[in-house]
């Protein structure tokens, strides 16, 4: 908010009339004005979450800096890395590897069974269940699992759904029965399933190169969603369907399907599609590794150029700057105006692979470490940072 010179006493001055104004020195007036200007410039950012980032690497005990996935389990944090599964509990890391019974040291996906507390880990060599310290492993050789490369895993009720390199599998944990879903019994034309999101009445699969598959729990039927532009990188029919066939992640919350692809993101409410591209949204990149929705309107996007948050209108991006590697955050409002927010910390790296929530905090898997975003709610903390730099469309 800017003040304009006026004839006569300034409206603000009258507030300080009668004694008080005489106490306000010119210097104080300048400081107050600056504070007001700063707060004004930060108006959109005040609604966007602010974090103080703590980063974990191998020096802290993380098994490997290349973190594929992260899972919050109450006060415990599981990190799936390229060289082991880490469990962070009571301030220390414990590591599980094949010698401990884990299927493979590269852990690609994690899922929590909220009923039993068991954690399921999808790895490059099978599926492992961690249950109160015991690890049981399922492979394509010793069980009905379709393939050992388990990119995605999700739990719903008694069922454990997996996305593998050779189709989808579903384990009924009560009966031990495995069911396989592939090109022979679904509309799947590409069997490289990359992620799964079972929730409510549906189960969604991100099929790498094959769009999205939807399984209706009630009817037990499959349905596919594909890019109306076909397998091209053109977006001729925007918002007419899925943005691209190479899907990497799906998130189904409050009957809204969110899809991450290597060429943008999509949101589907059952009738209308809305696609997000970096050129006309706050996405820092169209290359997405994961999408995780909070509700029908809000979602987090894990891209190769930073972590993005969308609240239904505005965007925020958190990352080390691509050039200087210094912490940066910027916000974009509905008009497209982008503001840079001074921050002191950032996620460990801009290549984001996944997130998980712990209350208001967020845990982020990156290519160079695991990051814990500690939510900052103190408005004074916001006011302390100062920058009035404003660049329209500049990222």
């Amino acid at each position: 908010m800017k003040t304009k010179p006026r004839n006569g006493p300034h409206p603000e001055q009258s507030r300080f009339s009668g004694g008080a104004k005489d106490l306000v020195s010119p210097a104080m007036k300048l400081i107050l004005a600056l504070a007001v200007l700063t707060l004004a410039s930060l108006a959109p950012a005040q609604d966007m979450p602010m974090f103080r980032w703590e980063n974990f690497t191998t020096t802290n005990g993380l098994p490997d800096n290349h973190v594929f996935c992260v899972l919050v389990d109450g006060k415990r944090i599981w990190a799936g890395t390229d060289n082991g599964l880490g469990l962070y509990e009571n301030g220390a890391w414990k590591v599980f590897r094949p010698a401990d019974g884990l299927a493979h040291q590269a852990v690609l996906s994690l899922a929590l069974d909220p009923h039993t507390g068991d954690v399921w880990a999808g790895t490059m060599g099978g599926l492992s269940r961690m249950s109160a310290g015991r690890i049981d492993t399922f492979t394509q050789l010793n069980s009905g699992l379709s393939n050992d490369i388990v990119y995605g895993v999700g739990v719903q009720g008694d069922f454990v759904w997996t996305a593998t390199a050779a189709g989808a599998s579903r384990l009924n944990t009560r009966t031990g029965q495995w069911s396989l879903f592939n090109e022979r019994n679904t509309p799947m034309y590409e069997i490289w399933t990359y992620a799964v999101s079972p929730a409510e009445d549906k189960v969604y699969y991100a099929v790498w190169g094959g769009g999205v598959l939807e399984y209706d729990q009630k009817t037990e039927r499959w349905k596919d969603y594909n890019d109306p532009d076909g397998e091209t990188e053109m977006v001729v029919m925007k918002d007419q369907g899925l943005i691209h066939e190479i899907t990497t992640s799906v998130s189904y919350v409050e009957k809204i399907l969110w899809v991450a692809t290597y060429f943008g993101a999509s949101r589907y409410d059952g009738r209308y599609w809305h696609n997000f591209l970096s050129k006309d949204s706050g996405l820092p990149s169209n290359f997405l590794n994961q999408i995780k929705a909070i509700d029908a309107n809000r979602a987090w996007f894990s891209t190769d150029k930073g972590l993005a948050y969308y609240d239904g209108t505005n965007w925020a991006v958190y990352r080390p700057a691509l050039d200087t590697h210094k912490p940066e955050m910027f916000v974009r409002d509905a008009t497209g105006e982008v503001k840079k927010i001074p921050v002191q910390s950032a996620p460990a790296h801009n290549y984001i692979l996944g997130v998980s929530f712990q209350g208001d905090d967020i845990w982020v898997a990156t290519a160079k470490g695991l990051s814990h975003g500690i939510r900052q709610k103190d408005s004074l903390a916001i006011a302390k940072v100062f920058s009035t730099e404003k660049s329209k469309g500049k990222k």
């Binding site: 039993t116 249950s131 109160a132 015991r134 050789l141 010793n142 009905g144 009560r174 069911s179």
Partner: protein, 647 residues
Amino acid sequence: MLAGRNLRECLTSRPFNARETGISDLSFRRLAKLTVIFAVVLLAIAAQPAPKKSAAIQKERYLSPIEVAISPDGRLLYVVCQDSDEVRVVDAVSGEVTKSIPVGHIPRGVALSPDGSSLYVTNAWSDTISIIDTQALEVVRTLLTGPEPSGVVLDIQSNTLYVANRLSSDVSVIDLQTGEETKRLLAGRGSSYLTLSADGKQIFSTHIYPNPGTFRTEPNSEITVIDTASQTVVERKPLHNVAGVFHVALSADGNLGVAAQLKPKNLIPLAHVEHGWGFTDSLTLFGQDVGGLVQVPLDELDRYYAMPWAAAIAPDKSKIFLTTAGSQSVTVIDVARLLRTVRSRHKPFVNDLSASADYVSARISVGRNPHGIALSPDGQRLYVANRLDDTISVINTNTSKVSSTIDLGGPKNIDALRRGERLFYTADFAFQGQFGCSNCHIDSTIDGLQWDLEPDGFGRDIVDNRSLENLAGTEPFKWNGGNPDMPTECGPRTERFFFRSQSFTQQQLTDLVTFVYALPYRPNRYRSSSGDLTPAQERGKAIFERTKSKNGHPIPDTNQCAYCHSGPKYTNQKQIDVGSGKPTDRSPVIDVPQLSNVAYSAPYLHDGSARSLEEIWTVFNPKDTHGVTNDLTKDELNDLVEYLNTL
């Protein structure tokens, strides 16, 4: 009439040519009379109604008490009778049976509500729980459970029931208000027994088969600890080199827990009859009183107390009482001496069989195959269910002597089946009472282990333990088919190479064989009650029965699944080499095993090297010598497994 008239004429008239034959009239008449009389007698005999076929042998319906619960005031005993499908209520004072309450099939576990108003009984072969109102003494409700429910406990608020399901190796959590199962918690393989801590905060679950592990490595088991507040598993206490864990008992102050267990020596040849030989019997202690987990021996240097099964700790924590089901006895342990021993020995001593002398205060002889026990509320009396006597031994815990025996009213006639069952479950025939048939065939099933039996040569012919269900018609026996019949399987071979001691008499062997042959199938939970197969099972059946591979080539007869695995028990009773032989096998030729209830007898192949049915073909059939399977997709292999599970 005509015959009668002719007969009369024969008797009275002259023969047509008597003079010519030289037979006098008198002699002829006498002969004729005799003939007629003889004919009449024959006719009379023929006219008698056919004698009734000998009546079908009536099998005695024994009670087989397996568990005992006692009312809070100590006045009533609730005795779960496994073979008569009932609960017998006994007046603890008079020793009289006052009521028999029918429940489901093969009742196995029991729990009493804290106020004593409800009794919960698991029915292992009905997959249900019977809830009995202890005032009305009748079943008022029946709930569904998982497959083969065994142990059961009720939480302290009486809101939730926990049931150990043996066949699915998990624990059902059942909301008593709705009667619905809310979740299943992963437990040990063959989870069977549950114990609630005194403060109600934790439940301890144990299991009878070792957890799946790597081939020919030490078996490992666990005590699964469930937190009742969150209804989740919070800990698994590891039990190394243990296979077969039975009841857990907890002290009233919660500081001491004991688990009865078996320690097999299955990785070394079954040759050395001393120093532990095939099995030792032990306890795992846990809790604050001992710090971590401590295993202690129960056996003595020259005497074993086989199959420790149920445990109870005196209210004042002075004693531990333990039934040893194979040794017809109850072992009494002095807790103070036990703890002193544990604290003074800084290294593991479970293999030191001299140690038990430090803390075992008594061995009390009771009835046959003692199982469940219950302490009176004042701790003065211990009630012991003698499963194969249909009696309850009442022990005075001060004197450690049996003060009385309660007759539960079972049949007095002990038939061949019962005699055979007694032989099966006792360790008396083994050298120093080491083990009996039921050590390896727990509850007449398997033990989940592989053994190196000495007669084949050390390190040779490693063999997987097999189920004993419905064996008649599956001869010959032994993995190589070397034993033509059951008397050979159970007779001198067993005595010589297993028990190394007293041999069975011919009658005893006959009784034992009779019992083994009478063991029925457990209900197969994969097969629907209607007998209809699911689509996946149907597809699997087609694969099982196929005669051509997917490219249309005929599959040789001897390599078709249904050729070898044919007949009602899925064995053609022949011996064949399917390429599953190992370098340590003297011969790759094996006897075609029956497949009935194969779903429940992992691991597989003659040596147990296949951990799952899938591995039979994904790992051990690279050249399609054990059926043609390498042309199958993964879905099709899954379908085949689905079908096999229904056999």
